[in-house]
Amino acid sequence: MFGAACLGLLVVMAVALVRAFAGPSVYDRILAVNMFGTKTVLFIAVYGFFTGRPDFLDIALVYTLINFVGVVAVLRFVEKMIDPKDPSPATENRKEQA
């Protein structure tokens, strides 16, 4: 039961990863990372029960916090770096990728 839930969450994480790779704007990537983080929290919680060691929950808690602080930090820096006249990092497109 827990194993199946873990596998299901891994599939969901993979789907979120697709969004992170695809972009297209930097905000989509941040959204994907945020979703990925939430999924990781749930995954670790379920995995702790799967292996019968619920003391993993502290890690899940750390993730919740770090995820939040991380998103705020990233947005703050994005805000600071993007020049209103040239918002290219926000809407990076195909040709800028290698």
Binding site: V12, M35, V78
Partner: protein, 112 residues
């Protein structure tokens, strides 16, 4: 008794994973960032509740349940804040939103 609890846990976990998948699918299907955020808030809210509540049923009335509850509370406090921060930053940087006008009423999109 344990059978009932196990069954309930399985139902909750399955629902939770299904909802999480729905949210992830939504982020792939919806056209722009603003609508994708609605999809991702499904995973943040009800999906996490379902999964964590399913685990809480297994743990019973112990400190483990309390920790699960704390994770849940932190998620419910932080996820709207980070969604709001994200959409606010996107809006202030004039990320274009795809809107559909109301059929009868005129609603001009407001300027930032």
């Amino acid at each position: 008794m344990t059978l009932i609890i196990d069954g309930l846990t399985a139902i909750f976990l399955a629902l939770g994973v299904f909802l999480a998948f729905t949210g992830a699918l939504g982020t792939l299907r919806f056209p722009d960032l603003y609508t994708r955020l609605h999809a991702s808030s499904i995973t943040d809210t009800l999906a996490s509740f379902m999964i964590l509540f399913g685990l809480m049923l297994q743990a019973g009335l112990t400190l483990i349940s309390v920790k699960l509850l704390l994770i849940f509370l932190f998620l419910w406090y932080t996820s709207p804040a980070s969604s709001h921060a994200l959409i606010r930053a996107a809006y202030l940087n004039r990320l274009p939103a795809r809107l559909i006008r109301r059929p009868n009423k005129e609603t001009p999109p407001s300027k930032p």
